[in-house]
Amino acid sequence: MSKTDDTQTATTAGTGAGTDLSSIRVDDPIVEIRNASVTFDMERGESRVLDEVSLDIERDEILGIVGESGSGKSMFASALLDAIVNPGVLTGDVTYHPQGDAEVDVLGLSPEQLRELRWEEISMVFQGAQSSFNPTITIRAHFEETIEAHNYNMEQAMAHARELLSDLYMDPDRVLDSYPHELSGGMQQRTLIALSLVLEPNVLVMDEPTAALDLLMQRSILSLLEDLQEKYDLSIVFITHDLPLVAGLADRLAVMYAFEFVEIGPASDLIGNPTHPYTRALLKAVPNLDTPLSEMRPIDGMAPDPVDVPQGCSYHPRCPLADETCRAEDPTYHDVTSDHQSACFHWEDSAEAIPLSTDGEHGETQAFAGEQSDEPVVSLEDVDVHFDQVSDGGLLSVFQEPDTVHAVDDISLDVYENDVVTLVGESGCGKTTLGKAVIGAQRPTDGTVAYRGQDIWEAKDSRRETDIPYEHIRRSLQMIHQDPGSSLNPNRKVAASLKAPLKRWEPDMDPDDRQERILSLLEYVGMSPPGDYAQRYPHQLSGGEKQRVALIRALLMNPDVILADEAVSALDVSLRVEVMDLMLELQDLFDTSYVFISHNLSNARYFSGKAGGRIGVMYLGELVEIGPAEQIINDPQHPYTKVLRWSTADLDIEETVEDPPLRGIDIPDPVDPPSGCRFHTRCPEAREACTRAQPTLDGHDDGTEHRTACFREYDESHEYWESEPIVDDADDADVAVGGSDSDARTDE
């Protein structure tokens, strides 16, 4: 760590990078970062994962830091607490201003002073909450040891902890007495936030705090964060890869590319008038609900390697505006307005070169829809999938009543040729199980799954010849996984992995033809030269490339239906659109249908919308709404779909984060689903009738494709309209959200 004694010069420093820092200063900074660099010595050379970064964090602001993975944003977070992990070396200055004129040179502190600064003044929340807790001690112990280590008054601090936990809509006693693994992911993350605030710090640094969670949970946490920020006068640094997610939350945004900030400005300016080519590209690449489908576009090229950042502007290899100056010189910050900076020579031209339309006009998007058949390819009728959950397989568990998880409950669904059906819902809603049932990879406990009229499981079980042999069915229904790596044999070259299915299904094919076919497909999906890629092993491919190979492999079987389970979720944001496009193009070519599973409504809309397909919304094992993609997105009927719609952040900056249209944050236990309409425990529209009777998709046939399982769709004669609204018991913190007293934060 650098022992700089020239803290005072920090404010005037910055000549080293050749950047004029006066422009990025704010009026009342709580933390100032000047020329901060992090370097690692690697065999290949020095790896610079944070490159001369300077930034001010204003008191009581929410600063959103946006960057793709590997852009250095986590390093920036660690730098604020001087917590870079060995052997990384941090240089530069970090100055903390507790109050008034006081200054603390963070990098010059003694270990004991640093220990006090962390958590008492500047605190941090990490991604993966599960791994941030010691699995063998209770949550209470985590709080108590933290309080003790900092010599705070135990009683007061614990009272504060309880208050924080209930601020975050949890039952303090229950949470404190739990072990980490007993809490759901969303609860763990909220508990971690409470733990980071227990010593009442002034600054909270959050590194992808919600990345591992469902969108709905992410948004709920965000809306709670806003309340916390108000209540406890926090300055929050929120680091994420998800620009739309923070757009509504943050006061200011800073976009990171290749280990430095390329654009900084007030959130509304930055979204409304992005000037850096990368920011614009990022906005186009991220699937969201407002940008017209025809305008979304992947960013070409790859993010640079930290050992070998391009000369001049680090974005020039991917930038459409790059010219000689860009290749030779590193751009400094240019003032767009007095508080909006862009590190680009040609920022004034970027709007023209990379047009963005933010005025929600939806273009014509029927790009890929093929001819759909009248007869379904796969047809599910009243399918149930129930799992028995036994604690563990000991001798006596035989006598134990197993818990039954209703993963899929009484769902009927038809998939046609050239169809695209996207299933969305929170994790644990049964969408993957339903998907597997569709392709015959999961045996239903009740109901039938038929492939072109032939019951799949009958074909499997029966010894007699069936109309369509089971082998044929298996081959026609394929699957690609979320993690493409897991479906490719790591010890086999790409060519060998791709040949295997061809050999098996078309043994008569000439080896040369086979080779030819594989190479042309590789070429087609953009992996060229194909001969080179065919000879690689999976570990030599990037995530996107692996997913392409997995896709080709599934397509080589000439399947009728492909189940794509979160197939793009693991990819970087800018790659998602690209891979989805490819999948749709290939659909056209191969005449297949997709069942696409996603927790993300934007991806669902992009995928289904572009192909003119449907979106099905699942909640606790039931299909609650299904219909054409654009209708589901633009005119959701079911209260739960509306919630999901709410959770999918818009780029619309005017809309601040509001309270969720939801009465409870956490999903009920699928072992014991609520009676009547399963959503009634969280539904803002729930009435007394909803607790007794169960609405169905077909209860009110109005003849359209868009069907909704909610009593609000039923006509006036239904008892729902007569019954009393459900009022929440105010004591039950776990359920009550709607009645929270937080008003929407006003932009100061």
Binding site: M124, N134, D392, L396
Partner: protein, 339 residues
Amino acid sequence: MINNYYIERTAQAVFTVFAVVTMTFGMIRLMPGGPVSYIRSQLVQQQGNQVDMEQVNALVEVYTNVAPDEPLYIQYIDYMAALLQGDLGVSMFYNDPVTEILASAAPWTVFVMSISLVLTFGLGITLGAVMAYIEGSRFDVSTTLVSIFLNSIPYYVMAIILVYVLGYQFNWFPTGGRISSDVATGMNLAFLQSAFYHAALPIASLVITGFGIQALAMRGNSIRVLGEDYIRVARLRGLPPHDIALRYVGRNAILPMYTGMMIAIGFMFGGSVILEEIFAYPGIGYYMFRGIMARDYPLMMGAFLIITIAVVVGIYVADLTYGKLDPRAGSGGGNREAY
């Protein structure tokens, strides 16, 4: 859920013991050249050819609690009933009740084994933790080498070397017995000293050959735990280093070693047969060995039974305490997100 876990483990333990007892019964009854023919041949040797079958059977019953002329299920019930009353029959070789012999031997075996166990794990865990904290240092590298080397020596080879060098060559340690003959039994200092003095070599041979693998396991676990996010978070939260070392690293690194400890319990008791013979240390293993050599079936079976029960109980206790130490045990693993 928790209660079920305990009931399950208890049932498993009881069932294992029951199965072993039944097996023992089957062995006595069915083994060719089993005790019945053994006693008969003894009598034939003594009395010539006029062996009265009744007399043989009576003798067999005295020694083994099994009356050969009864139907099989009665024999089984008799045998079980006798066992439940703590009657393991009478040793043919020593002509004393087996229960008495083993009761006097058991504390000594337990004494040696428990000290060995504590030392092996104490030493292993401490060393392993230190090695992990200064990973890559010279101490770490050399200790790793020594650990691997010592672990590759079988304990009985070490025992023979120790007894030969330190016992016979240098006469520093006794080569047999559990206490000196001139020390009175009782809880006095001289007695304890003598007991430790006599137990030193058996313990040493187990510990020297056993601690290495535990140290390496602990080292590996600790290094893994040290890389966990929660250690980093704990440091940022400003917890004192010794808290992190004990409650975070120590606890999470030791937990996975519990299985190793269970295996070690079984291994050590099993090993006591050869070990106690080498050191002529009259514990259970020693008597079992004698029983085998002399074809003294009741003694053999009794010792076998006791060793099995000891192992089962050891594992049972470890299992129960594991449930106390690791909150995740027995809760079904929390794989709710799997579907």
